[in-house]
């Protein structure tokens, strides 16, 4: 099996155990006196008003969307970046075409004024 991935897998397992150790340790050591006052969420003094799952502007969604598209684009570009030396000039131009199409998308969102954060 891939030794590299075995290493990464093991690394992940230990990576998760390492933060847990102090947590468990502190759970044991720290005093446990939960009382409602202490547990009320910290609201700089004022009581929590309403539930905390408030709705908010769709601005966040647009940013996540543009990020998703560009993320997928960069993933497409990685193999292209790797094989750039073996291929004739045509491949490079092709990659540039790929990028320019998506930049057009970015310009569209920019024109539509969606990138402002009102």
């Amino acid at each position: 099996m891939q030794n590299d991935w075995l290493y990464i897998g093991l690394f992940l397992v230990i990576g998760i155990i390492v933060p847990i150790v102090p947590l468990v340790f502190s759970a044991l050591v720290a005093p446990h006196k939960p009382n409602p006052i202490k547990q009320s969420t910290y609201e700089c003094g004022i009581e929590t008003v309403g539930e905390s799952w408030i709705q908010f502007k769709s601005q966040y969604y647009v940013f996540a969307l543009v990020f998703l598209v560009f993320d997928v684009e960069t993933v497409f570009l990685f193999p292209w970046a790797l094989s750039i030396n073996q291929l004739p000039i045509f491949a490079v131009l092709e990659g540039i075409l790929f990028i320019s199409i998506l930049v057009a998308g970015l310009v569209y969102t920019w024109r539509k004024g969606l990138l402002e954060w009102i």
Binding site: P22, L23, T41, G95, I96, V103
Partner: protein, 408 residues
């Protein structure tokens, strides 16, 4: 194989011999071997983390020309330990209504995503976790885990400010991940491989920073933004949203977030060093001074460079004012991403055309190309600035009753 120039493999073989002699299957012994290797690496990382806490406070003090902690022990070296003990002792309060599982998982994930980065960090030509051939993408994946842990923290602590802070932070991290990934592409093109070791070897002749200074600049800026350090740290901004998504975490959980962030900053310092400043190579001096080859020494070189990178991050942190969220995001999408894409295309074309030529020619041309791009962008910005100002004058001048349009 004498111990000096190849410690890791030497120990590895010795251990393997020991284990297989006990009759374990080779597969199992490699697993145990990896296990020991990883534990050593992580312990080293954690020790470094504690040391970083001290360094941070000391260096910060120097910036603001006051003395750092020096009460406990020589130069306050024991101070970080005191902090840790304090954090462990403090009571962990989970807010009412918080969603237990996710609430406890978030700090663990935050720390785990940083530790994962250490798997591929090349300390020296021989000492490194594993030479993945997709190391660069692996780095982005660890970043994605970080974003996820922030969302979990923000959502689960059932606190409006935490949620708002978390989402602002996520929006910030997400939008800065794009230029970061694009500028990660540049070393991949230049070194024609994604494996970390390949990139460092390719830089023996000339550091990538000379080939694409702009790429390095953009990577540094987006890395700082990705870390949530000033000037992009609107999340922990005291004035605005209290403590962002950290609010509800007390005691050790907060300690994990804090330690994670510090280690993250140092690791990124290391990555900047590795990607653009030639990792552990000393600008090609390797060939003449054989002793530089020794892994332990090159590890020191790498750590020195990483420390310099970290110092720059800290220096920026404590001398730059905080940027407002909309400028922050607008800056990224309107300026950084297009610029990084342009630089990417230019590097691609240049590296393609000059693939045959000697390296110094490549370096020179690339450098010129980057300078030209930089000059162009300044030109465009000046133009935009001028137009903006003209619009301003036109509007504010008493003669025009026109209400100032644009985002109120």
């Amino acid at each position: 194989m004498n111990f000096w120039n190849d410690p890791i493999n030497f120990i590895a073989d010795w251990l393997r011999g020991l284990l297989t002699s006990r009759g374990m299957t080779t597969g199992l012994s490699t697993v145990i071997l990896f296990f020991i290797g990883i534990v050593v690496l992580i312990i080293f990382a954690m020790m470094l983390d504690i040391f970083l806490v001290w360094v941070e406070r000391k260096v910060v003090a120097r910036f603001q020309d006051r003395l750092g902690p020096n009460r406990i022990g020589p130069f306050g070296l024991i101070q970080p330990f005191a902090d840790i003990i304090k954090l462990v002792i403090k009571e962990d309060i989970t807010p009412a209504g918080a969603d237990k599982l996710v609430y406890n998982m978030a700090p663990v994930l935050a720390m785990a995503s940083v530790i994962l980065l250490w798997a591929i960090l090349p300390l020296a030509s021989k000492i490194y976790g594993v030479d993945l051939n997709v190391a660069v993408l692996y780095l982005v994946a660890a970043g994605a885990l970080g974003t996820l842990s922030i969302i979990m923290a923000g959502w689960s602590s059932n606190n409006k400010y935490a949620l708002l802070g978390a989402f602002r932070m996520v929006a910030n991290m997400i939008s800065y991940e794009v230029p970061m990934v694009v500028t990660l592409l540049i070393p991949t093109i230049l070194a024609n491989t994604m494996s970390v070791k390949g990139i460092t070897d390719a830089q023996h002749s000339v550091w990538f920073v000379i080939l694409s200074p702009l790429g390095m600049m953009i990577f540094l800026i987006s890395a700082i933004a990705e870390l949530g350090r000033a000037p992009f740290d609107l999340n922990e901004a005291e004035s605005e949203i209290v403590a962002g998504f950290h609010i509800e975490y007390t005691g050790m959980k907060f300690g994990l977030f804090y330690a994670g962030e510090l280690l993250h900053a140092f690791t990124f310092g290391g990555f900047v060093a590795m990607l653009y400043f030639g990792g552990y190579g000393v600008f090609g001096l390797e060939k003449f001074l054989p002793f530089l080859q020794a892994p332990l020494v090159s590890a020191l070189i790498f750590l020195a460079k990483a420390m310099v990178g970290y110092w720059v991050i800290m220096w920026v942190k404590y001398s730059m004012p905080r940027i407002r969220i909309d400028h922050l995001l607008a800056f990224n999408w309107k300026f950084l991403t297009p610029l990084s894409l342009v630089v990417l295309c230019v590097t691609a074309i240049a590296s393609k055309l000059l693939s045959g030529s000697p390296t110094w020619l490549v370096a020179m041309v690339m450098f010129l190309a980057n300078v030209v791009i930089a000059w162009l962008t300044i030109e465009i910005l000046r133009g935009v600035g001028r137009r903006q100002r003209k619009v301003e004058e036109h509007l504010t001048s008493p003669s025009s009753p026109l209400v100032r349009h644009g985002s109120e």
